[in-house]
Amino acid sequence: MQTPKGRGSLSETVFAAMRSASPSWKQTLHTLADDDEDLQITLWALYELHYRGFDDVDEGLEWQPELIELRRSLEMSFEHTLRDRAPSVSPDGEFAETFFDFVAGHDGPSLAAHVHRTADREQVLELLRMRSIYHLKESDPTAWVVPRLATRTKAALMELQFDEYGCGDPNRLHSELFARGMDQCGLRPEYGAYIDDVPLEVLEENNAMSLFGLNRRLRGASLGHLAAFEVTSSIPSRRIAQGMTRLGLPEAMIDYYAEHVEADAVHEQLAVRTICGSLLDEEPNLRDDVFFGAFTCLDLEDRFAHRMLAEWAA
């Protein structure tokens, strides 16, 4: 993957410096973001240095102090925004039941319902291009959390991640299943291929997962996000698979969503009960952060759904 297109003064300056043989780091630290999109694409690229990187950027820049300083300042601003959006108190009560109720009580627009009944083929392909930014690195942001956990939670998270990563079989890795589906749909299956096409909301969704995964102090938010993601996956995945069948989309893509119906019916129980449950037994002070992560997952998906449904006038 090459560095994305800049979307404003900050991203253009930073990406040029990242590609340069003799960069001026000072300038990257003294340029302000023009708007949220400029900030988010910059942050996305800075996070990407810790995942697979860019073909046109020296691997050694992963820990370049000025880029880390910039990342820290951008992610602090983003975290502040996310915390401002979230409710200030988390609900009381027995954790698992309260968490399932919290997610069920969150009312938002549903892209799955649109895909199920009314979307046309072009809209579904557009949705897949947007989703590809995450699904082609599915579960990777949560993998950062593993070494930061105590025994029970670490084992519980690995039990879920092992399934996400195909139980050791590269043909069953969820990101690989998605790549095959993309290919059969005539879309580009390469990691990050559509980054220049995605709107602010997709950048925020992806950056929130990296923010939570890469900061140990936010491990509660990361696992709360994971749990909310899993709890809202099974039934929507079935609706998407049915919508794709209605539209005659290729089998590999339908299989990806069909796989998530049963897989995530298991994962939601694990994420809430064995993963977040054991985390909170061990570190009850992280309860607010678990709910913060969960809210962020649901809220960012609402924002994305609102945008896409408005664009499609659905």
């Binding site: 092992f162 039934i235 019916a265 129980q269 009960r273």
Partner: protein
């Protein structure tokens, strides 16, 4: 050090039964289904469209009718 416990079967309140490891489950019609993942969720509400496995449908039925 205390054993932290790692049950083979977990009954989820209002939801499925989780099964760790390889098992063969006989459904209500006597048909056999082998588990295919490290942990499987067996439907307990009777409403799943993927019998005998859970597909999350229990969340759509009134709480008093859940297992």
């Amino acid at each position: 050090m205390t054993d932290t416990g790692h049950p083979t079967v977990i009954l989820c309140a209002g939801g499925p039964m989780l099964l760790r490891g390889d098992h063969v489950v006989e459904d209500a019609d006597g048909e056999l289904h082998r588990t295919t993942r490290p942990i499987s969720a067996v439907c307990r509400c009777g409403k799943s469209g993927s019998q005998p496995w859970c597909d999350g449908t229990h969340k759509l039925i009134p709480a008093k009718n859940r297992p």
